[in-house]
Symmetry: C2
């Protein structure tokens, strides 16, 4: 789950996309550091499951031992933030008290216990006698992580990276620099007591380095942004390295004519209010005109009680929605207790609206009609299509992945909530006994293409 | 397998990367055509297996009926090419005689018979009682295909796209415009006799349209370039749409100290000469110094007999390699009967060389030592790592995928030779009975995360 927020002043890339020329070339020093991370990552990638588990546990232990220094560093960051007038929401995210730190350390231990994503055989085929093909999951190499404010993200992403055999280049917000520095020092101390080189993790501290990270093609395999939509969009627009994330989360709930009004209302309230800043909260409610009078007579007071401002089209205003929605509302991710409402002619009109304004993140329908449900679930081209449940379930932990690296709204896999499998790729391994292609091209030998057990 | 060639004059994007500003914005007409393809593709994506199979067979039948007009159009292209002095290698690729056309039509029929890549359930989990998650393979949407010269590629890629439920925007080389036009007309005639709208396929004819295709983010989900390395590199540098392909194929064979010299030579000859223009042919031979005298005394005359020019480092020249290799040779994809040769100190030196100069495409080792083999297969970070067999096996058909969409040298999946699975993605489908997230956040309900049968 990605939580959106206004970018903190002076932290990381600007919120509005600057021309690509604004991204500086990496300095020789950064190139060398990145090359070191990559070299250590290649060695780490060949460590077995046990060695990587042990490394993550050593990181957790070192964090525990460094509790006082981490908490003191965070206190210093908070004092500086108070002096700089940082917004309260960001101060809350920056703050790392004893309880939050303990929770984060427990999270690191949990990551050690996750099933190993590396070395899984995904394909196993005999091409011919003595010529056997395997496809094995392998670490990506090096991930670049850019996040705003939250220092606890350093612990989470570093442990996921090491668990899956990857190095990581981390860049936190400037306002969290002392906290991130203390955390990274502890993580490296922990790695120093393991088979993994401490230099498999590194922390960038300056804004220039953060931007230059976007140009480390060939040294960084994946960029994971953790922060505002503006941050994600800036990164997507300014790097050729693949980006795991999403800039927008305009999610819809369509209440069909055949919906159970009370169930639909319960789902709608949860999808909007359970955590309005989350990307998987709904921004627009589409209501079939046949059920609109009955449904909205229940929903309008319920949303008012929940503190949600409704903004409606003409038809829903006629049924009591107090504020008018404009064209801009249909494409807006409020990340707040605001919900756009539109009365639609029928299912097809709802599908058109979602196709036009949606982010292909998660969209839901409430209906008791099986044919309508099937049509919606097949026709909506989003990473998640839900029936009679809240969009808030679109989350790696809730999906049962044990961890979440990010949520992707791109078409190509990995799509939707991404667990540890987002940090691995695969490699084909072919073992022969002197086999050559000419024998098959000339018809002297034939492929068997026989599936072998995985 | 991608075959590289010099870009034909005046066909498609220039071989050298132009500044991004050179890519024009799509015209309103192109945007509308692309939107039509997308709309038809969304409907096609909901067709069942049988309807898509039938559509591909109808395409094959229509091609058969259009044989005379396709052959005549190709003849006209060939005459124009002769007038323009097109290079003989390109004329050979442009030429579509009766036998080649029959082969291509048979290929279209074979695509109809490939297993359906759509609608496969990849994950099936009960999150809680009545709340069931599925992950299903779905078509990408619309693929954009840019190819040089070969008109038969239109038939192949169009049939793969339709089989997997995707629309396609195709752009052939200008010198093949009449052939491509006749082929596309036949394919659309075939679709007109099926459940699939003919407008799911479209052909771009002008150079401006071809470039603007690179800017159709949101309308095109994947670009597949079929042509020279220069074409692929230009496309990768000038689009934000994912590109399936690879610009380089600098593949290595390392002959270890513990290699069987005769087997290693047989593999090396095949890997270089069986089809030197292919991306999976080797460009560099690395030879352990302990075996170099014995191996090269066999290899030098054998390569000479095969017409291969060897270019060696100092040590291999001392052992008889006639021509000196320069630094440029180690990074060059010759695509020709030229092979760089280097004598290396040991396995680690070979690994360093491959890490520095390789394209992460396919690299092989010949050795009878199991520990050395394991180290090589684990340490080389390429899409394909081979033991005692030719790199020429790195191919979707040889891997048993039934079809090949392209070969990717990127880190993220799909990697290596990509079959029909490269034209599908997945979607999460969650069905509930009024489930809301608040119940789990508040501890009133707990996730079961129970695996269900696929």
């Amino acid at each position: 789950m990605t939580v959106t927020a206004t970018p903190p002043p002076g932290s990381g890339p600007p919120g509005t996309a600057a021309p690509a020329a604004a991204v500086p070339d990496p300095s020789p020093e950064l190139l060398q550091r990145a090359a070191t991370v990559r070299r250590c990552a290649m060695a780490l990638g060949q460590c077995g499951d046990g060695a990587r588990q042990q490394a993550v546990l050593a990181m957790a232990e070192a964090l525990e031992q460094a509790r006082p220094s981490i908490l003191a560093a965070n206190q210093a960051d908070l004092e500086a933030a108070a002096g700089n007038g940082l917004a309260p929401a960001l101060v809350a995210r920056l703050k790392l008290d004893a309880a939050k730190l303990d929770g984060a350390i427990a999270g690191v231990r949990q990551v050690a216990g996750l099933p190993d994503p590396v070395g899984r055989r995904q394909l196993h085929t005999e091409l011919d006698q003595g010529l056997v093909l395997e496809r094995l999951s392998v670490p990506l190499g090096v991930v670049g992580v850019i996040f705003e404010a939250r220092p606890d993200a350093v612990m989470q992403i570093a442990s996921l990276a090491i668990r899956s055999g990857n190095g990581a280049i981390l860049k936190g917000g400037r306002e969290a620099s002392r906290s991130c520095g203390a955390i990274l020092a502890a993580l490296q101390t922990g790695l120093g007591r393991s088979a993994v080189a401490p230099e498999a993790l590194t922390l960038l501290t300056s804004r220039e380095e953060s931007l230059a990270l976007l140009k480390l093609d060939g040294l960084v395999d994946l960029i994971i942004p953790r922060g505002s939509n503006a941050l994600v969009r800036f990164i997507q627009d300014n790097t050729r390295i693949p980006v795991l994330g999403h800039a927008d989360g305009v999610c819809h709930l369509y209440v069909d004519a055949a919906a159970d009004p009370e169930q639909a209302l319960r789902v709608a309230l949860d999808a909007k209010t359970q955590y309005p800043a989350a990307c998987n909260a709904i921004e627009t409610l589409l209501v079939h005109r046949a059920i609109a009078p009955a449904f909205l007579s229940l929903a309008i007071p319920a949303f008012a009680r929940a503190g949600v401002e409704l903004r409606g089209d003409g038809a829903s205003q006629a049924l009591g929605v107090p504020v008018a929605a404009t064209e801009v509302d249909w494409g807006t991710e409020y990340s707040d207790l605001i919900l756009a409402v539109k009365v639609v002619e029928d299912l097809e009109t709802a599908l058109e609206h979602i196709g036009r304004y949606g982010s292909r993140h998660t969209d839901a329908i409430c209906t008791t009609d099986a044919a309508t449900a099937d049509r919606f679930l097949a026709a909506v081209d989003s990473a998640g299509v839900f029936l009679n449940c809240s969009t808030r379930f679109a989350d790696g932990f809730r999906y049962g992945f044990g961890a979440e690296v990010g949520i992707s709204t791109q078409t190509l896999p990995p799509r939707g909530p991404v667990g540890l499998e987002g940090l691995v790729t695969y490699r084909y391994r072919l073992r022969g006994e002197g086999h050559i292609a000419a024998d098959y091209a000339q018809g002297e030998r034939r492929f068997t293409h026989r599936s072998l057990p995985l």
